[in-house]
Symmetry: C2
Subunit: 439 residues, 2 copies
């Protein structure tokens, strides 16, 4: 049997502690599968005295992750601290510069510095593995980077934030408001005390930026993602979606179009009978559409100490099974220098179906006016209907719901702007994009 694979772990939070426990408890199983033992020889974390429920007596302790990465006698540096810059960035860079393989679960780091790090890894013959960074336990990085080699990808999309999917699922199931479901998610530990990063879509955007690079062979362009969170989704939207045969999910979507690559994160209506519509609660799902393989959908846990640790361990095992320096696996599918520039497709040119909910004053001719503004902008309607519990009360504003056939975002914006000018709108219109799986 080959020499043991020596790993150093920086960050001993939930994922780090799970990883240590699993590696220690399953030594024999791992050695049999990998052809060599996996040994945790060094760890770095802030508080040495905290009880993490694992035995760290045999590992060298570092108070400083960068020191571990740059000095320890290790084969693999496992970064589980999080954060786009600071010690995570410095330590990963330092390890790669030494030619040491890196495994990380850090989406923010990769989204910000992924290509730089991939370049160093290639130059030094080190591997940079990050399965846990996107959709937790779902092996989507492996699918894109390995299984789908030779495929041309047309679209990648998915539910990549468990907090948002939990809230949307609960709103539908319990008929509760967004605020109530958010509170419940916080009580259960599914949402942070400051939930903005999740519910505004930033977390999904980080993950999407990584998938986009892998899928299309382009540089990471996280800042070019169109972003819309779920805070604006009301229980009326959920009910209207259900009536129309849809469910609302926060999707991250990256899509090849004629004008470039579209990257967008927004609440999305998906057909009720599609498989992804049935993905409930904190579960994640990622779909990949390609020209040879066809459509692949993967559903699984997107977060949690164990699921994330499992993905990290899979990455470590891949290194254990290889021999140092023996592989050519560019971190983002193509060598960093061969990645194409990212060409952004503007959101205005997005083409798809739209759900539009308008509150209007109950005046004669409103229906006709709305229909006319849609027609002026070449928007073909699938349906238009009035939807109100208080149909008989003329003083109440009425709700009008439109569903369009495929049309352009610019046309929808233009039509809504014209409708706003008519003076019969009450409050802001709600616009939700519709996404359909490949037929």
């Amino acid at each position: 049997m080959a020499d043991a694979l020596k790993i150093g772990i920086a960050g001993l939070g939930t994922v780090g502690a799970s990883l240590v426990r699993i590696v220690q408890e399953r030594q024999e199983m791992l050695a049999t599968t990998c052809g060599r033992a996996i040994e945790i020889v060094a760890v770095a974390a802030r508080d040495r005295n905290r009880d993490r429920g694992v035995d760290l007596s045999k590992a060298a302790w570092y108070d400083n992750a960068v020191a571990l990465a740059s000095e320890a006698d290790i084969d693999v540096f496992v970064e589980l601290m999080g954060g786009a810059g600071g010690p995570a960035h410095a330590s990963v860079k330092s390890a790669l510069n030494r030619g040491i393989h890196v495994v990380t679960a850090n989406k923010a780091l990769l989204s910000a510095h992924g290509i730089e790090l991939a370049g160093i890894a290639e130059e030094r013959g080190a591997l940079l593995n990050y399965e846990a960074a996107v959709a937790g336990g779902i092996p989507v990085i492996k699918a894109l980077r390995e299984s789908m080699t030779g495929n041309s990808i047309s679209r990648v999309y998915g539910i990549m934030n468990g907090t948002c999917n939990y809230i949307l699922t609960q709103m539908e199931k319990e008929g509760l408001s967004f605020e109530d479901c958010l509170k419940e998610a916080q009580r259960l530990g599914y949402a942070e005390a400051d939930p903005a990063f999740d519910i505004e879509g930033n977390d999904t955007a980080h993950k999407l930026s990584i998938l986009t690079s892998l899928a299309f062979g382009t540089a990471i362009a996280a800042d070019d993602i169109y972003l819309e969170g779920i805070t604006n989704i009301s229980i009326e939207d959920i009910h209207a979606a259900a009536d129309l045969g849809y469910r609302i999910k926060l999707l991250g979507v990256a899509q090849r179009t004629e004008s470039g690559i579209e990257q967008r994160v927004h609440p999305t209506m998906v057909p009720y009978e599609s498989v992804i519509a049935q993905v409930d609660g904190v579960t994640n799902a990622v779909a990949i559409e390609s020209d040879i393989l066809g459509e692949l959908l993967m559903v699984g846990p997107g977060a949690g100490g164990n699921a994330t640790a499992s993905a990290v361990l899979g990455d470590i095992a891949d290194i254990a099974k290889s021999r140092p320096g023996a592989q050519h696996v560019p971190a983002f599918g193509r060598p960093a220098a061969a990645l194409l520039p990212y060409k952004r497709a503007r959101m205005r040119s997005h083409e798809g179906g739209y759900f539009i909910r308008l509150k209007v004053l109950d005046r004669t001719g409103v229906f006709a006016s709305i229909a006319a503004h849609m027609a002026e902008n070449d928007i073909s309607l699938e349906s238009i209907m009035q939807h109100s519990k208080h149909y008989m009360d003329a003083a109440e504003p009425k709700t009008i719901i439109l569903v369009t056939h495929a049309t352009f975002e610019a046309s929808v914006r233009e039509a809504i702007s014209s409708i706003k000018g008519e003076g019969y709108l009450v409050g802001e219109p709600q616009v939700i994009r519709i996404e359909r799986p490949k037929p």
Copy 2:
């Protein structure tokens, strides 16, 4: 850049021709991704003169696959002939004996000789990759063999035969009989002229035997699979399932139990709201339940020239990215010699819910008699109902449908045997097992 990877392909049917076309058309893309070119240097097929729509002029032609495998100057032997024995077995063995990597899509071969071949591969330092052998384009082999390293698997199950899933989906959607849907499937090329191998469950069993070995680290035991096809499923069953909130799918299930490992292929009721219930038509799906990662479900194309060629190409690319002799990847997760003996859990000890449909003569006391026989066998009922279009016509036999809570197969068999003895049954009872995803 490293030397080109030289491949030889035996079998130029739909998958082989797709593979040649893709490799030739995407040379540059593949070279960038793999760090070396992939070249088809030799091919073997029966008819040299058949037009396959691809240019084979640069490849050495062999009439005999074994000759190609044992003589050609190749790095990878790609076996796409099919068949458990004969030239497929002989040629793969011959290639591995020379230390040449093998990629195969041949489930029958692996089901019959997988462990023998894995042993030779390990001894000679060759890789044996077979992603395409199970569920076509779905990367389930990679997930089990690589991503889930260190996990203890409790259950693997899936829809692994597109023909059966197409027929069952059409029966439900169109309200047609099994026979009519089978004919339609044959007309569309989704079913063979002799469909027995698919509809009797043998194809699913081959695939399941491979997944079982990978999931549980045991020897392949294809002959120990409990087998029940879909020929017995009637439109009444489909309707009754829908009424009860289920869909019927042909599942292959491998499950760890206290008495051993259960392997079974049978029509199964899955809850309508589960993700797998929404997998329609020829699409496949595989779910893996494990203790660290949790539940992973993958949905994708299970067959077809392109999807299968994509999986084969992924396997070839993995070899291209590695360097010969540089990896330790036992074909079935553990080294062949370290695979555990397979201990069969008998079907009689299977525990789960059951759907039972009985046709009975309309006599007083029949309901009570059935309920009594269930109780005698400790079977707890979730529901019992009479189901008949001709409720008022006393001369017509009545249909009684029972759904049980979790119980043992032996108890169900015993109860049905007792009921048969009562003399009020008309025809054979229908028994369909219920399978639930992990909650």
